[in-house]
């Protein structure tokens, strides 16, 4: 979170540049030249996968557009959105409506439902409040959404003959998904943001052993291993409970989606369990609308909510009601969720000002605050705040910080790699130094290659594409019947001739190959003479060789032929013309090239000499 928020501010000034580069990039795509576009942000990543020369899959991450908005998947044919956070889908209407992208866009159902609300809200703030011009309009959002194709989890979508995509559950926020993209025999998994630890409203990310060529994963928390969420939750609840019991008010500044729902569920269940009566409010508007969708997409939530929703939908809050401005002055304890999360403007700041004077009250900041905001100041212990109009505000209320983050930590990232078993890993979306650490760990523990490309850097990876070869059924059956049943995990050695003719690959039996090529078969025989010391007669020596081999090569057929030679399978052993010296014998060993292995083994065996006679 930290680094992301940091460049959030930094990037804002580069908005124009971003736009331009993005536009240029799209132009390039349309033009059909697959040039690498130089993008500004450090998490930009561009992969090219060469597959069958014509298929290119490009992945772009980090198209910054006023707010950090990236993680847009662009292939030649399609775009798939990992989830609805603005940094992942903010540029969508711009891309489709103003730039002119007209391929299909894939989203999960919840993302498709919530995305337009967020975009509309985003548009309102940018256009109506900040007065930005040259921005997309409401109509554009609507038009854009019409182009979206909704996908289900684990549903394989055939984009065209070659390209297929499949979504996996990613935790993080409602509807977040990881996409598995396969083109031919090559595949990529792009994670977007994901969370490997389940929380109060969502389950953990999960992927099967899809063994992609590349796994592109975020690495926000590359160097962090987080503590159990239980301690965190317990702390949070204890603080809220104590304040309420003492008659204080609790303010929780949150952003509209994601953590707000988790905390709502957390407090709701706690209130239910402990039979508490104090009211809980959340700000109207965005949160309210989003909650509506949370109610609908129960299948995307965690086990507890899924199981109990028949009795009661957990998102139909019993204790949590919509907030009205006038409630802030009500006496007695209460808990209020108010936007925005950093206390820099809006409702949360107003309530904060009202309640700051009472030491019974408490503010709990559940996430990171950017430097310069009120949230950041109070977290750092400032007790006197200067407000506009030279007023000072004395903060007497208790200030607490709780970290609720929905990103995978280092262990989670490793866990995902273990689940998916990729051949290469690509780290994006993180600080270089931290990524270097994780990269080293991944290489060390999985012994697979890992890359962390810088902006605009192209990574070339070698893949092992499958080359289909036709094989005649007769040959296959013959080979299969020879050994044990085939095992898909182990390669099997077989004899055959590979014919590459007119662009087709065929595996046929040697005889057939000879026939097709019109060649006659040549036989190749190796003959080798071995000299051994033996003082017996020829026949005696041969007998001894026979018995010696018989004792060593138990599984082979060894024959003693009447013409005074020994046959081991098809290998012939005999004594050549008697030499002058009575003590030495020259033995001829002859084998065809198919039996090369056995033949050379026999010669080495004979060279070692015969054992001292047993007689």
């Amino acid at each position: 979170m930290y680094n992301k928020a940091n460049y959030n501010v930094k990037i804002a000034s580069h908005a124009k540049e971003n736009l331009e580069s993005f536009y240029r990039y799209i132009q390039n795509l349309k033009g059909g030249t697959h040039q690498c576009a130089k993008l500004v942000d450090n998490s930009a990543i561009f992969t090219e996968m060469m597959s069958r020369q014509w298929m290119k899959v490009q992945a772009i991450d980090g198209l910054h557009f006023n707010l950090p908005l990236q993680d847009v998947w662009i292939t030649d044919e399609s775009t798939s959105e990992s989830h609805f956070h603005l940094d992942h889908c903010g540029a969508l209407p711009y891309m489709t409506e103003m730039v002119g992208y007209d391929g299909p866009i894939y989203m999960t159902h919840p993302t498709k439902a919530i995305c337009p609300i967020l975009l509309e809200d985003y548009r309102k703030i940018t256009v109506d409040k900040k007065g930005e011009t040259n921005f997309f309009t409401s109509q554009m959002i609507k038009d854009c959404m019409k182009k979206v194709v909704a996908v289900n989890l684990h549903q394989t979508v055939q984009v065209d003959d070659e390209l297929e995509i499949k979504a996996y559950y990613a935790g993080h926020v409602l509807g977040a998904a990881m996409f598995f993209i396969k083109a031919g025999s090559e595949s990529v998994v792009y994670t977007g943001d994901y969370n490997m630890t389940p929380d109060r409203h969502l389950g953990a990310a999960w992927i099967d052993k899809c063994r992609p060529d590349i796994l592109i994963t975020e690495s926000t928390y590359a160097t962090t291993i987080r503590d159990s969420k239980r301690c965190r939750e317990r702390d949070f609840l204890k603080k809220v409970h104590e304040t309420i019991e003492n008659g204080g008010k609790v303010l929780i500044p949150v952003f509209a989606l994601g953590r707000a729902q988790e905390l709502c569920i957390l407090l709701e269940t706690f209130w239910e369990r402990m039979n508490l009566k104090a009211p809980i409010y959340f700000s109207m508007g965005l949160t309210e609308k989003a909650n509506h969708y949370y109610k609908l997409f129960i299948t995307w939530t965690n086990q507890k909510i899924r199981k109990t929703f028949v009795q009661r939908n957990m998102f139909e809050f019993k204790h949590i009601k919509a907030f009205d401005r006038s409630y802030a002055d009500n006496p007695g304890p209460m808990v209020v969720f108010a936007t925005p999360g950093m206390l820099h403007a809006g409702q949360s700041l107003q309530i904060f000002k009202k309640w700051a004077g009472n030491e019974k009250n408490m503010v709990i900041v559940p996430g990171y605050c950017v430097q310069g905001t009120v949230g950041h100041k109070i977290l750092n212990g400032t007790r006197k705040l200067e407000m506009e109009g030279r007023q000072t505000l004395e903060v007497k209320m208790q200030v607490e910080y709780m970290s609720f983050s929905a990103h995978a930590d280092a262990k989670g990232i490793m866990e995902l790699i273990r689940q998916a078993e990729p051949r290469n890993v690509l780290l994006v979306h993180g600080e270089a130094k931290k990524m270097a650490f994780l990269k080293q760990k991944i290489e060390q523990e999985f012994s697979i290659s890992c890359h962390m490309p810088a902006n605009g850097e192209t990574v070339t990876l070698v893949t092992n594409p499958n080359i289909p070869v036709d094989i005649s059924l007769g040959l296959l059956k013959r080979e299969v019947s020879l050994g044990p049943l085939p095992d898909p995990k182990k390669p099997k050695v077989m004899h055959g001739t590979l014919i590459i003719k007119e662009g087709s690959l065929r595996l046929v039996s040697p005889e057939q190959a000879l026939k097709e090529l019109g060649l006659t078969e040549h036989h190749l025989r190796f003959t080798c003479s071995v000299t051994i010391q033996d003082s017996h007669k020829d026949q005696e020596t041969l007998n001894r060789i026979y018995s010696h081999l018989k004792s060593i090569l138990k599984d082979y057929s060894i024959q003693h032929l009447p013409d005074g030679s020994v046959m081991v399978e098809s290998i012939l052993i005999k004594i050549s013309a008697p030499s002058e010296d009575q003590g030495t014998k020259v033995i001829l060993v002859s084998w065809s090239y198919q039996d090369e292995e056995l033949g050379s083994y026999l010669t080495t065996l004979l060279r070692k000499g015969l054992p001292q006679s047993t007689t």
Partner: protein, 971 residues
């Protein structure tokens, strides 16, 4: 044999064919007892298409077949099999063969050959695997037949090379189920089947089909279950299977590894990629721990469950399972647990109030960080945070099991268990509370831990709170502040949920008894006494004050100095509470007061023995009863009953046995008295008065026998038979009485038929007991049974009279333990003077809380009875979910009953009591037990279980009176 049977079969349906020829088949068929095989044959002949045949077969499968006609049916099926071309029909026929050979009373060895022959010519893989399945069924029915088993295994081995996964899996299953475990003699060992079955199965661990791999591991486990010792060589293979792509395979592999680790815990295995070696059990533990982060939750649950039973694992590995190195930006970070501990030991106790309080400090060496958990590292940390609650529950259970055997581990896992108290699923919370209770003798809670534990006291679920109270009973705490904290929170709990009163008092009793020295310094504060001033006397009816007193008095029991701190009224209150809540307040040694008779409980043990002896002797005394004259016998019974009853009162452990035998003897006494009345059997309805006595006696006996049968847990078949026998006698008495009193033969006819039926039922149910009942009533009746069934009711009555008089007393033998079912209604107490007011015609809900002891199957038997002052009686059936089972033999009923009535002018009391409902049909079903078990149940559709009708009820709790007042509705 076969020829003979064949002949019979042909006879059977040749008869039918003949009838068909007469062309009135339907009518004639109804006259003869319909033969299953014949009907099937007709159906199959009629079937023109294979679908029809399939339909007939399916219909046929719904009805069970008697053992005698199985053989015939099988022949017909086989015949049809050869003719059939459609493989689905063949499949069904083969599956029917399997089902038929399971029929009890049928020995399937005659069809083995046929089935094996079928195997030769079959082409379809599905039918093949079904055939193997049938062979498996037959083989397991004929476990004793070793040559047959060897032959079947040989067949299975041959078929192992089949291309279909189904056939291969079935073969493996067969080898697993039938593979010989015993040592074979040399002759048999030569055959192929005697080859090492483990080796054969092991080869299929690497099969290309995951289903076959699964079947192979299952077969291996099956061999283990059947008592074969698995080879250690399987271990490395099993370890490889842990990384299989398929969850079924992994799940079975985990089990196999576990089995091997239990078999060879101490053997040494090398660690790959290093030269070190470790014990096999440690290695297996590490491997199973690793699977706790598997992708499939089925495997995770499996792994989490198995971990708990690996007690032999070394402690270093055990401790690793809770290890999780935290880091932030490459710097070491302490976990919240460590921080809490440190804060506690350093003395400062302020929680982090500002951001960055938990900022990481120490730099980490990047090489030292191990991101992927190797071996046992952090297994439980993962398991407890899993997404699926099934995994979490299993992890909690395993954690508890391991902690119970290792105190040091118990200390370490404490924080994790306490964390689980905040789980989102109630079951998990409850389980972790129970787990903590089980290991609480190993641990002492720190203040911050206790704080977390106590926070759960506010939970709205009663189960959770009571579990927590129970936990606190067994907890050790370290400081006096902990005691204060616990007391304050318990009192808070009491004000929030006043219904927890009893449970909280009990909890404080143990808390005080365990920590007398920690309570001592708190006493002045708790009693709010002051050295100089008199403080006002607290209200004696305040439950909170009672709670405090319970704590103090129990602490004072082992801390004599404490009484000096009491003020006068405390002593008075003590006397009051000692009397009213004697189970919570112990006897104290008060200054100036004599300790009441020092009847120490330690002397009780020998008494128990002697009382048991006494019980036995009293019963033995009765063996001589037949020697005595009637008067003497009655007296003997009389005082034995008295003895037993008294014993039951004195010795609560033996109360069940004593009461049971006393009741039995009382029935005997009543029967004797009734038979003594010489007048009633003389004749005529003139002796009305006498009849009334006998009638009353027989009725009472009937009632008592029902009580004996259904209210006592732990009865064996012998006792049940005796009780039934007693009931039969009472029925006979009633029958005779009916014969004497009523005119005309009609009522008698019905009654005698009913009686004969009862005798018949008795004979069937207790056939095994009959030999022990020589010379008694039933023995005599059964002797004459053939005559009885034919004779007229009047003759029957005469025979019964004679039998009753000549029958001798059946002596009672007792099993080791008999418990009488009892119930105590805790809530409502019936003490309230304020009537429960409600508008007439509407309903009011009344909470009922009761404990039941030794009730079998309370969900179906326990009912609540409400008696209104106007005599109106209602019976309420509590929901099955209202019953909880806190311990063996104990149940708790927490339910609501709805009351309603028309308007009354003034409040009145209603009576509530608990009833035990019984029905004799149920008891018979249980007595017949396995014999009537449906082997065909899988093919029988919707076989409605016999309706559980309530025949009668036995009240088994003291009635509680509740004041209610239905007000007239306001107009």
């Amino acid at each position: 044999m076969a020829a003979h049977l064949k002949k019979r079969v042909y006879e059977e349906f040749s008869k039918v064919v003949q009838q068909q020829l007469e062309e009135v088949p339907s009518k004639k068929l109804r006259l003869t007892k319909p033969s299953k095989s014949a009907a099937l044959h007709i159906d199959l002949c009629k079937a023109t298409t294979s679908t029809d045949a399939l339909q007939y077969l399916l219909q046929f499968a719904r009805k069970p077949v008697e053992a005698e006609s199985v053989e015939g049916v099988v022949r017909i099926l086989l015949e049809h099999y050869y003719k059939e071309n459609d493989k689905s029909v063949r499949l069904k026929i083969v599956s029917l063969l399997g089902l038929l050979s399971q029929t009890p009373g049928f020995v399937p060895d005659c069809i083995v050959e046929d089935v094996i022959n079928l195997l030769q010519n079959e082409k379809s893989h599905q039918v093949l695997s079904q055939l193997l399945d049938t062979l498996l069924v037959i083989g397991s029915r004929l476990q004793e037949n070793l040559p047959l088993r060897l032959r079947l295994i040989e067949i299975a081995c041959k078929r192992l090379t089949d291309t279909s996964h189904g056939v291969r899996s079935k073969c493996l299953q067969m080898i697993g189920c039938l593979g010989s475990v015993e040592k074979l003699s040399t002759k048999e060992a030569e055959s192929l089947a005697a080859k090492d079955v483990q080796k054969i199965i092991g080869e299929y661990f690497n099969d290309q089909d995951p289903r076959v791999r699964t079947a192979a591991i299952k077969a291996m486990l099956q061999l283990h279950e059947r008592g074969m010792k698995l080879h250690q060589t399987n271990y490395s293979q099993a370890c490889k299977l842990l990384t299989d792509d398929f969850e079924q395979v992994r799940s079975e592999a985990v089990q196999l590894i576990w089995v091997l680790s239990q078999l060879y815990p101490e053997s040494i295995v090398p660690i790959p990629s290093s030269s070190e070696e470790i014990r096999l059990v440690d290695d297996a533990f590490g491997k199973i721990c690793h699977t706790i982060s598997d992708t499939s939750w089925v495997v995770r649950v499996q792994a989490a469950k198995l971990l708990g039973s690996m007690q032999q694992v070394s402690s270093e590995f055990l401790v690793q399972t809770l290890d999780k190195n935290l880091m932030s930006d490459l710097r070491r970070k302490r976990t919240a647990h460590e921080r809490a501990k440190e804060l506690y030991s350093s003395g400062e106790f302020s929680s982090g109030r500002k951001w960055g309080d938990d900022a990481p400090k120490e730099e980490l060496n990047t090489d030292a960080v191990n991101l992927i958990d190797s071996g046992a590292c952090g297994a439980f940390v993962h398991g407890l945070e899993d997404e699926m609650y099934e995994v979490r529950i299993s992890a909690v259970e395993s954690l508890c099991a391991l902690a119970q055997s290792s105190p040091s581990f118990a200390e370490k896992c404490l924080d994790f268990l306490v964390d689980m108290f905040n789980d989102e699923i109630e079951e998990v919370r409850l389980q972790s509370i129970h787990s903590l209770r089980k290991i609480s003798n190993h641990i002492t809670l720190r203040e911050d831990q206790l704080d977390t534990v106590l926070a759960v006291l506010e939970d709205s679920s009663r189960d959770i709170r009571e579990a927590l109270h129970e936990l606190l009973c067994y907890t050790n705490v370290s400081t006096k502040d902990c005691i204060r904290l616990a007391l304050v929170d318990l009192l808070k709990n009491l004000t929030k949920y006043p219904t927890d009163k009893n449970s909280i008092w009990k909890c404080l009793k143990f808390l005080g008894g365990r920590h007398p020295t920690l309570v001592l310094p708190l006493v002045p504060e708790l009693l709010s006494t002051h050295p100089f001033f008199d403080t006002p006397e607290p209200d004696m009816d305040d439950p909170a004050y009672i709670a405090v007193l319970v704590l103090i008095f129990n602490a004072a029991k082992s801390c004599p100095t404490m009484t000096a701190l009491f003020s006068d009224h405390t002593f008075r209150h003590y006397a009051y509470l000692r009397d009213s809540l004697s189970h919570l307040v112990p006897e104290l040694r008060l200054p100036g007061r004599k300790m009441a008779a020092m009847s120490d409980y330690s002397t009780l043990a020998p008494v128990e023995d002697s009382s048991q002896q006494f019980l036995r002797q009293s019963l033995e005394r009765l063996y001589t009863i037949h020697l005595l004259d009637p008067q003497g016998a009655q007296e003997l019974l009389d005082f034995t009953i008295r003895d037993l009853q008294r014993l039951g009162v004195l010795q609560s452990e033996l109360a069940g046995m004593a009461d049971f035998s006393a009741t039995y003897l009382r029935c005997q006494l009543l029967l004797m008295k009734a038979l003594q009345e010489k007048l009633w059997n003389v004749a005529a309805p003139l002796y009305l008065k006498q009849n009334a006595v006998v009638y009353g006696a027989s009725k009472e006996i009937l009632e008592e026998t029902y009580k004996m049968e259904f209210m006592y847990a732990g009865l064996e078949n012998t006792q049940v038979a005796k009780v039934h026998h007693m009931r039969l006698q009472a029925m006979a008495l009633q029958l005779i009485l009916t014969a004497c009193t009523s005119r005309g033969i009609e009522p008698l006819l019905g009654a005698s038929e009913k009686f004969l039926h009862e005798v018949d039922v008795f004979q069937r149910c207790f056939s095994s007991e009959l030999p022990h009942m020589r010379n008694c009533f039933i023995d005599k009746v059964l002797e004459l049974m053939p005559r009885l069934a034919a004779s007229k009711p009047s003759d029957l009555v005469k025979i019964l009279q004679a039998a009753l008089r000549q029958s001798s007393f059946l002596h009672l033998t007792l099993p080791d333990q008999i418990h009488r079912a009892s119930a105590i209604i805790i809530e409502p107490t019936g003490e309230s003077d304020n009537p429960l007011k409600f508008t007439s015609g509407l309903v009011v809900a009344l909470d009922i809380d009761a404990t039941l002891e030794h009730v079998q199957d309370p969900q179906t038997t326990v009912k609540v009875q409400v008696v209104y002052p106007d005599g109106q009686v209602q019976m309420i059936h509590p929901k099955p979910s209202d019953f909880r089972n806190p311990g063996p033999g104990r149940h708790r009923l927490i339910t609501q009953v709805y009351l309603s009535h028309t308007a009354w002018t003034e409040p009145c009391q209603i009576e509530l009591r608990l009833l035990l409902a019984y029905s004799s049909s149920r008891s018979k079903a249980s007595a017949l037990g396995a014999a009537t078990k449906q082997t065909w149940s899988d093919s029988v559709e919707n076989l409605v279980p016999p309706e559980n009708t309530i025949e009668g009820t036995i009240p088994f709790s003291k009635p509680v009176k509740v004041f209610i007042m239905p007000k007239p509705a306001r107009r």
